[in-house]
């Protein structure tokens, strides 16, 4: 399944570079992407792209240079040209104070564990019909929008340090559907993900909407600023978790004393003992790469165990700079937050907790103060006021501004049910990533700092 011409071109240039003592690392990225976008109950965009990229990094002692090209790279001349551009950049680069770590493909790897040709070539008609069914089943009085992105990503890594080739081809998809009331303006959303055709179904999407639609016909509830017990749904949980990791468990942030774990040590209690966070590429809720984008072989790797800081992740540049061992998380993550023992239903979980806010998703989470672990974001999609486990009213857009330490420190209950949340960035190139999180987490004393008078 490897494109032989591209592989051979890269190997040919790699071997030539090695014979000239050039220290180079090659990354081939090919994506076949398809996106169908829905707006106002119609297909608003239907796109297909077939793109091939080559990145070349060259290390020349303390100097480094890199070059990326998106064009037809099946010719050795094109690959050679990219290499020479990177060599030239490295040759005039200012030397670093430290020696950059050599880029090495640690193992010979070929992976197609999560590849489904049926999803790679999924007929856009399937997507169109799925959205049509959702509209038919849920009701035509609403305004529907959403997107369904699917495709394949093929990555090949090679280096001059050895003969290893790391290669993976996989498929992934990310589906969303938003239902908006044209008069009241509230929005509900449903999300699905996976790597196989057939995993996204209209039935599941319609069921999600039907579950919550009745309460959304009640008048909206304005949440006054204060402290609340909050049930964070999986989308919100995954969003906050990623920010928590970036500002607290990132070796770069830690070494530079930028984050909220600055001053803490490995083994310190930083979160609730109910919280365990690991990186686990074998978890099928994530898109598991057995190597990272710098060629390091990946496996189970704990970050937080029962609330204690266990490990930090170090990208290769930070590791070189601070004399640490790099961890296999360079542009790759299979983040898993371990489930708890709460019931499957979040309503059941808060049956005896009185008034509780259910926030399934947050919009635009940002970090006003990483040193304090302070984050902020506003509720979006399907947020509901619960009373003793009963859905009472939809809530107007409300702002959570609180610290990671508080939200993940005052944990009351964590769902026993795991879900996959697609966290692929669609900036730049296709790079499938998913986070496995419990379907909900209940936290006490969460700060709501503002709310709108509308949804």
């Amino acid at each position: 399944m490897i494109d032989e011409k591209i592989r051979d071109a890269i190997i040919q240039v790699r071997d030539r570079a090695k014979s000239k003592n050039i220290n180079a690392f090659f990354t081939m990225h090919r994506e076949k992407s398809h996106l169908l976008r829905i707006g106002n109950n119609a297909v608003s965009l239907n796109t297909s792209t077939d793109l091939t990229r080559l990145d070349v990094e060259v290390i020349d002692g303390h100097r480094k240079g890199s070059y990326s090209v998106m064009t037809d790279i099946s010719s050795p001349d094109v690959v050679e040209n990219a290499l020479q551009t990177a060599v030239e950049k490295a040759s005039v680069a200012t030397p670093k104070e430290y020696k950059p770590l050599e880029l090495i493909v640690e193992k010979e790897i070929k992976g197609m564990e999560q590849y489904d040709p049926a999803l790679e070539e999924l007929d856009p008609m399937v997507k169109t019909e799925t959205y049509r069914k959702i509209i038919d089943e849920t009701g035509k009085d609403y305004n529907y929008s959403g997107s369904w992105n699917s495709g394949s990503t093929e990555i090949l890594l090679a280096c001059t340090a050895n003969k290893n080739i790391a290669w993976r081809k996989g498929t992934d998809q990310q589906f969303s559907c938003v239902l908006k009331d044209p008069v009241e303006k509230w929005e509900l959303a449903t999300f699905q993900t996976g790597w196989q055709a057939g995993e996204v179904t209209a039935k599941n999407a319609a069921a999600d909407f039907k579950h919550i639609l009745p309460v959304y016909h009640e008048p909206g509830f304005k949440v006054e600023p204060g402290e609340y017990t909050v049930v964070f749904g999986s989308q919100a949980l995954a969003d906050i978790l990623r920010m928590l990791m970036w500002t607290g468990l990132n070796g770069k942030t830690y070494e530079e004393k930028m984050g909220w774990t600055s001053g803490k040590s490995i083994g310190d209690q930083i979160l609730s003992e109910k919280v365990t966070i690991v990186d686990d590429p074998s978890n099928m809720n994530t898109f598991g790469f057995s190597f990272d984008m710098k060629g390091l072989a990946r496996g189970f790797f704990p970050f937080v165990e029962e609330g204690k800081m266990t490990n930090l992740f170090y990208d290769i540049d930070t590791a070189g700079k601070y004399n640490r061992k790099p961890t296999p998380h360079n542009d790759s993550a299979s983040l898993v937050m371990k489930h708890g023992d709460g019931p499957e239903s979040p309503l059941e979980a808060v049956r005896n907790m009185g008034r509780v806010l259910f926030i399934p998703a947050l919009h635009y989470v940002h970090i006003p103060n990483p040193s304090k672990g302070l984050f902020t974001g506003s509720s979006r999609f399907s947020a509901v006021l619960l009373e003793n486990g009963e859905m009472r009213a939809p809530i107007f857009s409300s702002r959570v501004t609180d610290t990671f330490q508080n939200v993940f420190g005052n944990v009351e209950l964590i769902s026993s049910n795991d879900v996959s949340v697609n966290s692929s960035s669609s900036y730049d190139r296709r790079m499938p990533e998913a986070t496995s999180v419990p379907s909900y987490m209940v936290s006490r004393g969460v700060k709501i700092t503002d709310s709108a008078d509308s949804f």
Partner: protein, 493 residues
């Protein structure tokens, strides 16, 4: 891919899909979409990268729906037209309001960013020498981290459509920033930065980067301010006036005027990702967006800005028009297809022409409604000194540290690098960790002072994100100093 190899194939492709019943077709060919990033972090050259992209993107309207396809492979030009047409036909199986581009005369044109020295022709050694000197000026014993970076873009592309348009564009952008950080007395990292802005006129090549007055001469200023931040008390929660310097005002305008006025958001096409807008079609000409002092424009005839590009990605020439006139919303950021749908939905002509705001970040992304230059026009309340003197109790804010906005842009929360307390018309002391929040319409209703032209600068935005798949776009904002009253600042304890 080379223009010589593909031009004929593209013309043939457009003719063929139109013969097969398409209502409209356009194609964008990029012979070069290049970038260069150089970043010194603590004096180490941590980013020394360049990129080159080339390819073709084709958009076909068939049966009232869009199909799009793109390729980076020269042999796939014909197939790319086929896929775009097939995609449009599939999309047309689920149509609500059939899209219509209307009919416009073909346009022949060429636009090139005004450039004195092409930054890509400047030797890397010279660029590094410039950055190294800047970095040495950032050094001080108390500073724990220094970042000096330059990001350069050069695009050469051609546009064709089925109306006979043929447009060539050569776009050059230069972005740069200096940033320093240090730990304060509470072991919290404080930041001060200065990014490259443009004067609005003149050229935007390497000569802009090396113009000291636009950023690099401010190193001593930001070092002094960072030193003050390290000893500063934290801002207290409470309501007060806030004065936004352009370094913060641009983002306020970007998030709470620019994004909510993108017509595709208003029509609901961004709901599943970027979000919607509190603005409705009924709002145009009716909604009081802010006080009488609020005048906002799109484009604003800015010669030198990343939001100036000659023609948009539907071939519409850039326009200069008001969005908000003395506080009343009068227009939006629009493209041809979106105004057609808006007018059909409203049952009347709300928009009589495209705002020239259809933009795509690369050949492989379909164009969507974007900001161009969204500006606040200078006011009549004098200089920054005048506005501070007229302020009883307040804070002066500069540069964003965080931004979080409600999905319909109805409310917001911003964190800034630095605040200066104002008491009885005078700057008194520096405050750290400043934040403020508000509701968009209430906030702009409390706009109480707008600085004159002496306070107006064009801030460059290299990274506005929107769309699925996400598109990063370059934008400009010409903004003066602005004062808003009764704003919630700081965090509740």
């Amino acid at each position: 891919m080379r223009i010589e190899d593909t031009e004929k194939l593209i013309s043939q492709g457009i003719a063929r899909v139109m013969d097969e019943g398409a209502g409209y077709c356009d194609a964008r060919f990029y012979s070069e979409d290049g970038s260069e990033t150089i970043a010194l972090i603590d004096g180490n050259l941590e980013e020394n990268t360049a990129s080159y992209e080339s390819g073709l993107g084709v958009r076909v309207l068939h049966g009232g729906s869009w199909g799009f396809a793109a390729t980076s492979r020269a042999e796939d030009v014909k197939e790319t037209f086929n896929r775009a047409l097939t995609n449009a036909k599939t999309a047309s199986m689920l149509v609500n309001i059939p899209l219509d581009m209307g009919r416009m005369p073909g346009i022949k044109g060429k636009y090139s960013s005004p450039v004195g020295i092409d930054p890509f022709e400047v030797p890397l050694k010279e660029k590094l020498a410039f950055l190294e000197e800047l970095d040495s000026n950032l050094q001080a014993d108390f500073i724990q981290r220094r970042i000096a970076y330059i990001y350069l873009q050069r695009m050469k592309n051609w546009f064709w459509n089925s109306e006979g348009s043929f447009i060539e564009r050569n776009l050059t952008n230069c972005f740069a920033e200096a940033r320093i950080m240090a730990l304060d007395l509470d072991s919290q990292m404080q930041i001060r930065s200065k990014s490259l802005h443009t004067p609005g006129s003149g050229t935007r090549g390497w000569e802009m980067v090396t113009n000291p007055g636009l950023w690099s001469a401010k190193t001593e200023t930001i070092k002094e301010e960072l030193a003050q931040l390290l000893k500063a008390p934290e801002i207290e929660y409470g309501k007060r006036s806030v004065i936004l310097l352009p370094g913060q005002g641009f983002l306020q305008v970007h998030e709470t005027i620019g994004h909510p006025l993108e017509l595709d958001r208003i029509l609901g096409y961004e709901l599943s990702y970027a979000g919607g807008s509190f603005v409705t079609l009924d709002s145009i000409g009716e909604l009081r967006y802010g006080s009488n002092k609020l005048n906002a424009s799109a484009y604003g005839s800015i010669e030198n800005s990343p939001g100036s590009f000659g023609y948009d990605d539907e071939g519409t020439p850039e326009r200069d028009y008001l969005l908000i006139d003395r506080g009343i919303l009068v227009n939006c950021l629009t493209s041809r297809a979106m105004i057609s749908e808006a007018n059909q939905t409203a049952g009347k002509t709300i928009f009589d022409q495209s705002g020239g705001a259809s933009r795509s970040t690369a050949f492989y992304k379909a164009p969507i409604d974007r900001m161009t230059n969204v500006n606040i026009l200078p006011g009549e309340d004098g200089s920054l000194t005048d506005i501070i003197a007229q302020t009883e109790e307040g804070i002066l804010l500069d540069n964003p540290r965080s931004w979080s906005i409600g999905s319909n842009r109805e409310h917001f929360h911003f964190g800034c690098e630095i605040a200066w307390e104002i008491s009885s018309g005078k700057l008194t002391r520096v405050l750290k960790n400043p934040t403020y929040q508000g509701h968009t319409l209430e906030f702009y209703a409390n706009l109480s002072a707008v600085g004159d032209e002496s306070t107006w600068v064009v801030k460059q935005v290299p990274n506005c994100g929107k769309g699925e798949p996400n598109q990063i776009m370059e934008i400009g904002h010409g903004v003066p100093v602005m004062r808003f009253d009764d704003v919630i600042t700081g965090e509740r304890s």
